[in-house]
């Protein structure tokens, strides 16, 4: 692998908020074509890391490159190459699914003719074609999530960032979203996601970085992590490297409906 094939390179990222150190010397690399997870409890520094990589926040120290481009020196070039799906529901509820996608296409400078083709493709990929003229506010939770994801893909980003993509989804919607994320990767996009669901990190990701209190505690393939700690579940790895369990795991059988 050459340096060029690294989708994300974070080098000694540190970020302070007033007196609090949210990130402390965070370094990791995501290879092109991977599905990579930042795994950790709330407040561990996952979202702060992601916001730095998205050029929405400047690091106090350290540097990062996304798709080979420095995030602090050329933020605009980075923005054109990355997609982002925030944790909150941000699709405009007063716009239809199609209008939301067309809007994003304009914000990423797609010409109208190309945008129309791309929006139709994305509606197909998200299996939303039949609902394309429904208002986003009227879509079910699972469909809404897929629309949010599609909105991050209008410009065929090299790297797609997903912040807690399955938060609040039931197990069926969650599984369906995982297969959608795999389809996105199959299209050549690198996927970096944050999650605090161990099951999700295990089932979906090629590699995970376990992050706790602003520091990277371990970073490898789920299987390799389990092997190295001679345990059967990622949960035990997490316990071993952080000295604590991960709260808020969804019960496997009964999950809240969206």
């Amino acid at each position: 692998m050459t340096a060029r094939s690294d989708a994300v390179q974070a080098v000694a990222l540190t970020r302070d908020f007033a007196a609090t150190r949210a990130l402390d010397d965070v370094s990791f690399t995501v290879m092109a074509g991977e599905i990579f997870a930042l795994l950790g409890p709330n407040g561990a520094g996952k979202t702060t890391t992601m916001r730095i990589l998205l050029t929405l926040l400047r690091p106090t120290a350290g540097s990062a490159r996304v798709a080979g481009i420095d995030v602090t020196r050329q933020p605009k070039a980075v923005r054109a190459l990355v997609g982002w799906v925030p944790q909150d529901r941000t699709a405009d509820p007063l716009l239809t699914a199609r209008e939301n996608l067309s809007f994003m296409a304009g914000m990423y400078h797609l010409r109208p003719a190309a945008a129309r083709v791309r929006v139709a493709e994305l509606l197909e990929l998200a299996r939303l074609t039949a609902h394309s003229d429904k208002l986003a506010g009227d879509l079910s939770g699972g469909m809404r999530r897929k629309l949010e994801l599609a909105m991050g893909l209008v410009h065929l980003p090299a790297v797609l960032f997903l912040d807690e993509p399955t938060l609040g989804l039931d197990i069926t919607a969650r599984r369906s979203l995982w297969s959608y994320v795999r389809d996105i990767r199959a299209g050549g996009t690198t996927v970096v996601l944050t999650t605090h669901y161990l099951e999700e990190a295990d089932a979906l990701c090629d590699r995970v970085a376990i992050i706790d209190r602003g520091r990277i505690m371990a970073c490898d393939a789920p299987a390799a992590l389990k092997q190295a700690h001679a345990v059967a579940a990622l949960e035990d790895v997490f316990l071993a490297v952080t000295g604590q369990g991960l709260p808020e795991q969804p019960p496997a059988d009964q999950l809240v409906s969206p």
């Binding site: 092109a32 405009d92 304009g106 914000m107 400078h109 065929l156």
Partner: protein, 276 residues
């Protein structure tokens, strides 16, 4: 595996460095389209936008015209006097609330999502200006047409009506900038509306919208002379009642441009702090 930077070409991206003008066009097209689509979905808001100015003109115009029957109103026709005021008040009200959609976008997280895109950040605000200019321009034409039906005739003709729209637009731009500044300075829209309501009525009454300065108590007339709304209204009244006065129109336009510049500077300051 390498990065598909060639995707830009295959997608029909306008991605060359010399394409900034096209980028700005594409961003504004998307943003303006969104503002318009949101309005289309709010039927009640459309009704209010049409009804409110007509209520001013028809209801208050008639009411105050009867009270003002013996008062020395310029032009000796209150409805004719008030037409200009109704236009400027409408521009004022719509522009004063014009920034709140950006506050909604801040609250919902939509704004941050827009900031993560390569679009120019200023386009988010300038598209709002363009949208409000079209909206208030349409409202103004509606009022002028309704007043015509009610018997008001325009001394400066169709050209004067165009000049009314330009003056209204210059005045509205400054108020919109203030509204945007407010939207980026406050934490939630629960704070926005009380402030706007509190500011709106006194500013309207301390202007020549409803009562000529000559009929006001001295202190109020003095306040009204500091109110940019008065300058916009006086120009429009001149155009409606007396015809063209290029010198004074140019003076008003220059004063309003100065007002706009101050407001936009204030908005830029609020934006820089609020977009972080």
């Amino acid at each position: 595996m390498t990065f598909r930077t060639d995707q830009a070409v295959s997608l029909g991206h306008a991605s060359s460095e010399h394409r900034w003008l096209e980028h700005i066009y594409l961003e504004h097209r998307a943003l303006f389209g969104r503002w318009a689509a949101r309005l289309r979905r709010e039927r009640l808001a459309i009704l209010a936008l049409v009804a409110q100015p007509l209520v001013w003109l028809v209801l208050f115009g008639h009411l105050l015209a009867q009270m003002a029957a013996d008062a020395p109103v310029p032009g000796h026709d209150y409805l004719r006097y008030m037409t200009a005021g109704a236009v400027v008040m409408t521009v004022f009200n719509a522009s004063l609330e014009g920034g709140v959609e950006l506050l909604f976008d801040r609250e919902s997280g939509f704004l941050v999502r827009m900031l993560a895109a390569p679009a120019h950040r200023l386009s988010i605000v300038t598209s709002r200006f363009a949208y409000l200019a079209v909206l208030t321009g349409t409202q103004s034409l509606l009022i002028l047409a309704a007043a015509y039906v009610m018997g008001v005739r325009y001394a400066s003709g169709l050209g004067g009506i165009a000049a009314c729209l330009v003056i209204g637009g210059l005045f509205g731009a400054g108020i919109t900038a203030l509204s945007v500044a407010l939207a980026f300075s406050l934490r939630s829209h629960a704070q926005f509306f009380p402030i706007v309501t509190f500011a709106g009525l006194p500013l309207t009454f301390a202007s020549s919208a409803l009562v000529p300065l000559a009929l006001m108590p001295a202190w109020l007339a003095w306040v009204a002379r500091l109110n940019p709304m008065t300058y916009a209204i006086d120009s429009l009244q001149g155009l409606v009642m007396h015809g063209w006065a290029p010198g004074s129109l140019a003076g008003t336009a220059a004063a309003l441009l100065g007002f706009d510049a101050c407001c936009i500077a204030l908005a830029a300051l609020a934006l820089r702090r609020g977009m972080r």
